[in-house]
Subunit: 137 residues, 2 copies
DNA sequence: GGTTGACCTCAAGTTCACTTGAACTTGTAG
DNA sequence: CTACAAGTTCAAGTGAACTTGAGGTCAACC
């Protein structure tokens, strides 16, 4: 008996049971069956859930994630679309890295007014230019 | 006359005027004055707005961003907190990089079932373990 | 100096991602 | 066999981040 109870899944994944039911309803995950009324989950669902959390952190909506990975967690859409998502993500990452460096500099720089600091300005300039591309939030 | 009309700011930043008013109300940006009823913005607001968009993409809430940078766009909170934000962001970035690699691999890998592919599994394992740290969404 | 259209305010509505509550069912322990 | 803790459904509520609509104002052009 390897199947997991919803409470087990919640505990192991850190995601509340209510959210797990919501995900199932939205087609992001699937239970393998029921014991009475109670859902049973395959342990694989845990891996799948970390993929979902990850995708959310990347700025993808649950709907997008459902399109990208089915309720089975396997990449689903065509390779071109996956590659495009990867590229969008890559751009996001570069911008975030610049923001990180900017914050780190702001934390270290003795300059009072960071917007006067050329290093900070340069980093922020590098970080700019997001918004309005459908794949990357 | 260098001040920008809200429509100009909207056009240049790609952010709708309604959102700009909302940001002002929330203390994320400031207008330099009014011409009659109409807000006038300093061009600097554009830089500030890209910082906001960036912060959002990084998973920070508007409230957090307001705390991090005032309505003037200058880093505001103490250096320790900024450094902590930078560290949280850095962790996020690493996870996203793993997701990007996973997607890229999924797009390229000839394997039909990606969850059977060791490369994909390894990448997803590396990407896991987000959720429940207050600074990173 | 009147019209006009872009801006204003304020309240209410929308979407997303969940959470909460009420009422109900059921496997397991005693 | 009864009790009950832990699950279930379904509807409604929540908070964040905006958007939309109604009704009002006013700077600028003709």
């Amino acid at each position: 008996m390897k199947e997991l109870d919803i409470a087990e899944v919640a505990r192991l994944s850190g995601i509340p049971a209510s959210a797990l039911r919501y995900y199932e309803e939205k087609g992001l995950i699937a239970s393998v069956g029921r014991r009475g009324l109670r859902r049973l989950f395959d342990p694989d669902v845990l891996e799948h859930l970390s993929l979902i959390s990850l995708g959310q952190a990347a700025g993808f909506s649950l709907e997008e994630l459902a399109a990208m990975f089915g309720s089975d967690g396997r990449p689903r859409i065509d390779r071109g679309a996956l590659a495009a998502k990867a590229d969008a993500l890559d751009r996001t990452i570069r911008h975030l890295a610049a923001l990180r460096d900017g914050l780190r500099h702001a934390a270290a720089c003795p300059e009072a007014d960071h917007f006067a600091c050329p290093t900070f300005r340069r980093l922020m300039k590098a970080a700019a230019g997001r918004r309005k591309q459908k794949g990357g939030r």
